[in-house]
Symmetry: C2
Subunit: 522 residues, 2 copies
């Protein structure tokens, strides 16, 4: 009842106001809420009930949003699958979460026979890309979304306690088996209401949010729920396309969007950037990595009217932990931090016994709040490792300064100084990761007599994919400046070493290259 | 852990920023948080633990706020007593809530021997008006607040589940026995975070909130917690003094305050109003009653830069239900409504079987959300009557219009048309209630050949107090315009008739006077 309340509230107080835009589909709050209630009714008619799971494997769309509300509407849990997962990983996810129903879009429909073979428990499949008239080419065992919505009656809202599981979101994956993070109605609501307030002008009137980051990720779904609480208009892009982003900002008068720093650069670097009117944009949220002072200056030069906001989160916190607000960006000493505690976050840096350390001392970042996960799905041992003494262990080493800003060591160490230029590994990793053959990657600085450090990428290839080091380097040149492009690329097959909390231990990887030498940050 | 997180967060991210102002006492977030943790430690040292109750009987102060956080800090529940309660009522409250500790200020210290006699369970009393040096005149069995804080070590935060009871707040009282509303950490947090977002500029930087409404009331404590979440500065007035309010707005550059409409008028009517600089005020929140179009126009004329915001709440909802935002005040057809659903409120108008009625039809207003009470303290039958099918019955009859605005019939009926002038009963009731002899009162329109309706007050006097009708009328003349002053005052001893949910049934009272006649609103 928590999660779906925001939708019903908007249908109650602004029934005729625009709610979602997806290509040529434009719907009001009354329409979206009615469709959601009918989809919920349709799912209930298929036998989905309290505690059951419904998986989604799809690119972003307005229907994805409706599903995000319809499934908890009847007390079931959404299982949003990573769209970059391989058949192997999807098969694992299906057999782990055991959903009764899978919602799938055109992009992934061809995988269906394989998925059914690997997971015979699938009772129903719903096709998301339906148009008004059901697609005659749709397999007989696949239901048409619009048809289901049209012929179903609105389901009554099931009042559930706040602790009721509303989603299972898979994290990691680089470490072998993904863990399903169980998020309650309360957790997602608390994270989202805090986001809608902290991301201050999100809650102001007239918010128009462009969703270009994947909705399967808790970073994407977090702003989806927050924007609904705030009553903003949702604009959906199926994926990231820098030119389409500029076009949509202009056409729809977008006020907010969220991107990773590499994407920000790609948008700003569009050759015809200046021909678009982006004056409506108020806030640009970036996550996953800090921005360099240089990139902030460049962004401010091209978007002088836009506030930059950095979010730090984890799926286990549904996902909101902390943020670096627009006003914090004015202080260069804070730019490499993950900002300050979010509105509902308790955050400390602690020793191994969960005792808070004095400011400036390095320890593990621990977090808690109403947005905490219920635990890992069917993994009590992993849960016990991650939730200790009422805290969630982030697995991130860091320190807090006197002003409450959290600095993550791996992010700090992630800066490579090469030929006098600062390069953030994360930015390079984001670029490398855009190559279709890359399953995961780590970018570090390795010793170089010429450059001091040189940018080095270590890549684990996707199954059944291959690439040469040169292909990766050529690919990166399209996305980032020359000095940031890896000088060397290495492929490995072993998984990266990870911490107990599942974080890649870059310092372990770095050690192999720096044994016997000094690094700038110990 | 929910409730106290906001305080610790402010101490973490803004330790040296001003947090509270109480007379000449000015303290930072670091100081307030340290004092709160020490008070919590002191209470723990007195044996207060999880599930225990600590009562407060005091006027507003910065120490009252510290107590509001210190008590839940160790898992105990705050019991804020109504400062207008008689000895009889206090005795009932003490024996009902059974607190181990009572915090009391100078105003109520003289009642202590009587209170101890009536409730022998009191183990400790803490005196709130202490100065740096303990008062030598303090009774031996009373602890000095500052002394306790100074000699106690900060208590560790007790991580408690969100459903843990954080407060017992008494409601009603006109109906014989008050009920203790049990509010959880989650309920108060949810209501407060919604207030801090909905009361939009409360969450913006630079909020300075003047607390002149009693903190024992959930309307007062709601904005206390909301302002803390928002990181605003708290200014405390012990009670309502219209001239002091103007002085403080000027001196402290107050941005927000909350008053009832009668108080707003008294502030605006100060003879030297124009000599004060009130340009910093951004939002004026009023509750308990709607404002007439005339009063809104007058207020806008005197405070053209100020947004008016009306809140509708109930203690059972911790207390936030709905609000009429500043922009809603531009539409005269909405002014008599209670606004639209708050950020976390599900609200419907329903029939006796909790089925939602079509818009415009009159039924009972039902509400639900994460801010719902746990129930009434040790009153399972009353709880079962108030919480039905997952909803809280407000006891208010009303309807919802097509735009989601809630209109409460008793408020609508509460308008008296006398000699062509509109008079809101609530405004008159507020004025009557300021007389020290009045325990409770109802103001209605009764038939008048001359005026159509005339303003009539029915008063239940406080025990051991007396007043004549003329005294009440003379008293009212000081507070409200002549045409609003009751033409007639009647005293009664029987309690007013109430609904199952404890609301005074004005229509029953009105009936006695209108039998056989037509009223404008049936």
């Amino acid at each position: 009842m928590y999660l779906t309340q925001s939708l019903r509230r908007m249908a109650q107080i602004a029934p005729d106001r625009l709610a979602t835009v997806d290509g040529t589909d434009r719907r009001t709050w009354a329409q979206v809420t009615d469709r959601t209630a009918r989809l919920a009714g349709g799912l209930a008619g298929l036998g989905v009930g309290q505690g059951d799971r419904v998986a989604i494997l799809a690119l972003n769309s307005a229907r994805y949003m409706e599903a995000y509300f319809a499934i908890p509407w009847i007390g079931a849990a959404v299982v949003p699958f990573n769209t970059r997962w391989t058949l192997e990983e999807l098969s694992y996810g299906l057999n782990d979460a055991r959903p009764d129903v899978l919602m799938v879009d055109a992009q992934f429909l061809p995988m269906l026979p394989d998925l059914r073979r690997r997971y015979p428990g699938l009772r129903h499949v719903i096709f998301l890309n339906s148009s008004r008239a059901p697609d005659p080419g749709l397999p007989a065992d696949v239901l048409d979304y619009e048809d289901l919505v049209a012929r179903s009656r609105p389901a009554p809202v099931l009042p559930v306690p706040g602790e009721t599981m509303a989603a299972i979101c898979y994290t990691g994956g680089t470490t072998g088996l993904s863990k399903g993070v169980m998020l309650s109605h309360l957790a997602i609501w608390a994270s989202s209401v805090a986001l809608s307030t902290d991301y201050a002008d999100l809650a102001s009137e007239g918010t128009i949010f462009l969703h270009a980051m994947p909705l399967f990720h808790s970073g994407g779904s977090g702003v989806l729920f927050a924007t609904t609480i705030a009553g903003g208009i949702h604009i959906f892009h199926p994926g990231f396309d820098p030119k389409a982003i500029l076009q949509t900002i202009q056409d729809e008068k977008v006020t907010h969007t969220q991107l990773v720093p590499t994407m920000v650069r790609m948008v700003l670097d569009q050759p015809d950037f200046d021909s678009f009117d982006v004056s409506t944009l108020k806030t640009l949220i970036y996550g996953a990595a800090p921005m360099t002072q240089a990139q902030i200056s460049e962004t401010a030069a091209k978007l002088p009217h836009v506030g930059l906001q950095q979010g730090y989160g984890q799926t286990e916190m549904a996902p909101y932990i902390s943020s670096l607000l627009p006003r914090h960006h004015k202080d260069p000493t804070k730019l490499r931090s993950a900002g300050v505690a979010g509105l509902c976050t308790d955050i400390i840096v602690a020793d191994d016994a969960q005792r808070e350390l004095p400011r400036g001392e390095v320890g593990e970042v621990l977090v808690r709040g109403p947005q905490m996960m219920l635990g890992y799905w069917e993994k009590p041992e992993e849960t016990a490792k991650a939730m200790v003494g009422g805290w969630i262990r982030t697995g991130d080493a860091g320190f807090m300064d006197e002003d409450g800003f959290v600095f993550l060591i791996d992010r700090l160490k992630d800066m490579i100084v090469t030929g006098g230029e600062n390069v953030y590994s994360t930015e390079v990793e984001n670029a490398v990761a855009l190559h279709p053959a890359v399953a995961s990657c780590v970018v570090i600085g390795v010793p170089s007599d010429k450059w001091g450090e040189q940018v080095h990428a270590i890549v684990i290839a996707r199954k059944d994919h291959a690439a040469t080091p040169d292909e990766i380097i050529v690919h990166c040149r399209q996305h980032i400046s020359g000095y940031k492009v890896p000088r060397s690329v290495e492929f490995r097959t072993d998984p990266f070493p990870v911490s107990g909390a599942g974080k890649i231990l870059k310092r372990e990887i770095r050690k192999l290259y720096w044994e016997g030498r000094e690094t700038s940050l110990a």
